[in-house]
Point group: D2
Chain length 145, copies 4
């Protein structure tokens, strides 16, 4: 599902996705995540710098990065399918190095849609530098209603 | 690392662990997680019922279950090693069924310690019933200071 | 899916499963895996000691343990559902310690069936001792035909 | 670890790696895997078309793809570090679609080296087309001797 100029547009706008999150996913606002972009099977989200995301030494806590990744995959899947009923079936994350303060960007890509969707996320410091974590994940897509 | 009567006691008490969390891991209090028990390589934690953990339909959001699992593993590793510098290297979670409202218990067990530790978590409804998710994870343990 | 006395019998016998493997899964005979037991959502398989499974130092190679785990999950799923069309959707393995020579037992348990099944495997030395690897996995079950 | 023109050369040649496999990793020759290329933290391997890799319907068996991925990561790590004592600590694979007959290419990239290394693999049909599986993995690197 590499984006091509002939790809259809995303099935949801950033504004529409934010409205859906406000209605249905209160944890997103708890974490303060910002939706930067949603395409056809892709999404970029930002976890801003906040002290409550950090643990000892200013390192951003792993669960925040997992939550960010999960939401980035969800945005990318809704962008590809319009199906807001998608739920995570499995998620695997490898932590590569301590995440520096300053905000983290999540780049999600969907490699397969259908009854079972799958994709990956790369987490990189917003200020630049080497990736801090890497995710692969599968999602179950109930029939759209 | 099945607990035996000859096992040494846990290397940290629940009270000591809660103090460490308050000092160093603000996300734990954000989620409202309660530490029920810590043994030598085991831990039981409770994610209480809170509306902010839920998504559409009252289902507890996946990221909350990932955060709960991560913290349960951390407690079990500190219980086995006393090493509070342990950090997650990898975590894989499978979601088995929607988590009902009413609180979720996480039962963590460590199968290996050393420079690289590993263990698993089973997440079950506090009210009883079939497990809602299953986790395996590896952790890096820097030399204790 | 803890086995209870009221559980239905396994949906396939060891003899029937071996026949299916001989017909359809030539890799099982390549590895020389023996099916010890199949129950309703459980299975025990043995990877015998063979020099071609080993790498430097007599340690059994990781891919052999992954293949053993995959087949153990498949046997447990067919034991629970009778559905031989099940295919692996995701598999995560953590290696805990070097597997000694002498054969490895895989104990698989299915925690959920349905359109998407899920379960785990614990790999232990046949001669006894601590587990050498731990697996969680999800499977897609096409409609049985 | 994106390759740049200023990157050092790979720490091992394809010929040297093949010699090492022949000496130490008999499973590689069992699978008939061909080493196409090794760079500084990258590797491309080919699993050729062989009937013993296939299951019902000509679909290449999952364990063969896991073994291929594991070996591709090993080649990429040795290419980056020269450390042939590296061992898999964790591996997660998502299967995206049935692998067609005709051979499968594995493209491995290492994102982090050190005491614990990590990277990913994308598995694609040698004849072209959409990826069939996706892997992330961590590796433990004992001190080089």
């Amino acid at each position: 599902m590499n984006p091509k100029s002939s790809d259809p547009a995303a099935r949801i706008t950033v504004a529409g996705f934010n409205q859906m999150l406000a209605d249905q996913h209160p944890f997103a606002s708890t974490l303060g995540i910002e939706i930067i972009d949603i395409g056809f099977g892709t999404a970029t989200l930002l976890l801003p710098d906040r002290s409550s995301h950090q643990r000892l030494g200013g390192i951003i806590a792993g669960p925040m990065l997992m939550g960010l990744s999960d939401l980035a995959l969800y945005a990318a899947i809704v962008g590809a399918t319009g199906n807001s009923q998608a739920v995570t079936a499995s998620l695997s994350i490898n932590f590569l190095r301590g995440a520096p303060p300053g905000g983290i960007l999540a780049h999600a890509s969907i490699l397969k849609t259908g009854r079972l969707a799958a994709g990956d996320v790369l987490l990189v410091p917003a200020a630049g530098g080497d990736p801090v974590a890497q995710v692969i994940s599968t999602w179950s897509l109930p029939r759209n209603t």
